[in-house]
Structure formats: structure tokens, C-alpha cells
């Protein structure tokens, strides 16, 4: 029975062709894989596979160039928007985007990010916010929630000692250079479809020269949070969405 269903004419969904067969180093259930898939699908649909240049961060997504068959440039920690600015100014016809985590974008690269967004550099920035430094062993990040336990704040984040969580997407929505600022997640099928539309809109806004855009993806880090992938999604929905409310914060693109 199943054998006559499994044939190329009945194909509904397969791994995007831009994503190669290299096994990903991400932990089981990591949101990075879903976002990689979305980026690959969108570039394929836009027909930009020969003209896309991604800029990798330092963090878990540092090896993104191993998994997606497009051009990549590695940047120093946090400096991806600065490197992408140069690439986009020299090659305005290329689809240049950066893919950064919260430690990279909101901490060490906060200056580069805010200024690149404020200059309106026609860059889409994909911001993976999992409220923790995933790659280095689960340390506290600027986006860590109050009361959240990490390896460097084992009694929970206390604002008196560690300060308050930084809501960088909110900040970006007040900058004049940005045309599209949104916050999405990739935990359910519906939210993944919405996130895909958001990334696509950011890419199109960049190619139409409308300004910079920031797509924050509220993600999980099940290894850092010490939860199973399914429990991590539940924890994210219960706790992260209260501080990081999903939805469009700014949209002046006029694109659908």
C-alpha cells in the first residue's frame, strides 16, 4: 500500500535542495535546524541561490556554511552586521543577510547591530533568541529572563546583580532606519509558516532597498535549559512569550 504512495509525483514535502546532506552538529530538537530549513526554502523560492551571501555569527550557528549551499562569510564575534554592510554596499544586487544568536547580536555585537539597523543598510538580520549562550555551555546572556537559572547565575537572574533582560527587537523598532521588525517563533507548524513569511518579507524588503529589517526568532536551547526538546518548547511558550511577545513591531514595507 505504502509503496505506491511513495513515488515522486506524490511528493508533498522534502528537505530543501539547498540544504546538503552533512549531518548537523546541533543538539536534538534545536530551533536552528528549522530556521536553516526556512532560509534554504526561501532562497530557493526567490531563485537567489547563486546570489545569496550569508554572514555567520560566532555561536552555535558558526557552522551554518557547512549546511546550506550558498555563499557564506564568517565574521568576528558580533561583527556580522558590519561585514554584511560592506558586502551589501559592494554588491547591491546580492541577497546579503546575517544570521546571529542572542549572545552575538545582543551582547558583543550590540553596537554593530544597532548602528547597522539605524543606518538602514538594506540588510535582513535573523536573530535567534534563546536567552542563553548555547555553544559555550549555557552562560547568562543579555536576554536571559529574570529568575532564569544558567551556569553563571545558578540561583536565577537577579536584576540587582545582573541587570534586566535586553529587549533588542523593541529597541530596533524605534530606529528610523528599520523598515520591518518582527518577532516570531518556530515551535508549531502554524508559527513556522508565519516565521517563513516574516523572513521572506525581510529578504524582499532588502532586495527592494527599503531599509534594514530584524526578524527575531524566539527559540529553545534544550541543552542549556536542561529540558527535553518537547518540554523546552512548553517552557518557551510559558515563560519566553511573556517577555518576548510575538508579532510585528514595525512594518513600513508595504509588502504583503
Amino acid at each position: 500500500m505504502a509503496n505506491d504512495i511513495i513515488s515522486p509525483e506524490n511528493l508533498v514535502y522534502k528537505k530543501p535542495t539547498l540544504m546538503n546532506d552533512t549531518p548537523m552538529h546541533y543538539c536534538p530538537g534545536c530551533s536552528h535546524g528549522v530556521v536553516h530549513k526556512l532560509v534554504a526554502e526561501i532562497i530557493e523560492e526567490m531563485g537567489m541561490s547563486d546570489k545569496a551571501v550569508g554572514v555567520c555569527p560566532v555561536g552555535c550557528a558558526v557552522f551554518a556554511y557547512r549546511y546550506l549551499d550558498i555563499d557564506w562569510q564568517e565574521a568576528a564575534h558580533g561583527r556580522a552586521p558590519a561585514v554584511a554592510t560592506a558586502i551589501k554596499r559592494l554588491w547591491p544586487d546580492r541577497l546579503v543577510f546575517t544570521y546571529q544568536g542572542d549572545g552575538d547580536l545582543a551582547c558583543i555585537g550590540a553596537c554593530e547591530t544597532i548602528h547597522a539597523l539605524n543606518r538602514g543598510e538594506n540588510l535582513p538580520i535573523i536573530f535567534i533568541n534563546n536567552a542563553i549562550y548555547g555553544m559555550t555551555g549555557g552562560q547568562m546572556a543579555p536576554t536571559t529572563l529574570i529568575g532564569q537559572k544558567t551556569s553563571t547565575c545558578p540561583y536565577g537572574r537577579d536584576p540587582k546583580i545582573h541587570g534586566y533582560p535586553l529587549n533588542i527587537t523593541e529597541l530596533a523598532s524605534h530606529l528610523d532606519g528599520t523598515c520591518y521588525v518582527t518577532r516570531q517563533s518556530v515551535d508549531t507548524v502554524a508559527s513556522i509558516r508565519k516565521a517563513k513569511k516574516a523572513i521572506r518579507k525581510a529578504f524582499e524588503a532588502s532586495m527592494n532597498g527599503l531599509g534594514s529589517s530584524l526578524v527575531e526568532i524566539v527559540s529553545t536551547c534544550n541543552s542549556g535549559w536542561k529540558l527535553s526538546p518537547v518540554k523546552a518548547n512548553e517552557w518557551m511558550r510559558e515563560n519566553m512569550f511573556k517577555k518576548y511577545v510575538k508579532g510585528d513591531l514595525k512594518d513600513t514595507t508595504g509588502l504583503k
Binding site: 504512495i5 514535502y13 540544504m19
Partner: protein
Amino acid sequence: MSKIKGAIVVNTDRCKGCQLCIVACPQDVIALAQKKVNVHGYPYVEPANADKCVGCASCAIVCPDGCITVYRKKVEE
């Protein structure tokens, strides 16, 4: 009457057994393979109730590693 029938193929070598697809599946088709691991030492999922599959592709969309290929066909009854 025609009926929609689906089928999934899991790339077990790529699967890491995160079980997000098991939660996403509305028909309870997918289950973790019992006491089996792949070449990387990860447990993996398999279509345990393959007959129930409707080919909605929910499992494949949520899969972080792109392990699942989905097929769908109209079957006359």
C-alpha cells in the same frame, strides 16, 4: 469515495530522536523505534502506524534536521 492517504520516509541516519515530530503529528503515526540507535548513536523515529498517515507534512515541517519526506495520494475506495 476518495480518501487522502499519506506516507512518510524517515532518513534514520539523520534523525536525532528529538521527538518533536511525534508531538506535531495529529494522527499519532510516528513513534520512537524501540531499543534501536542509528550510526551516530541517536535513537530515531519510525512510522509505527503508517496506515493512519494523511500526508499533512506537519512532522516534516517541525523536523529540525529535515529527516522526513512526505508523500500524499488520493485513493479511490
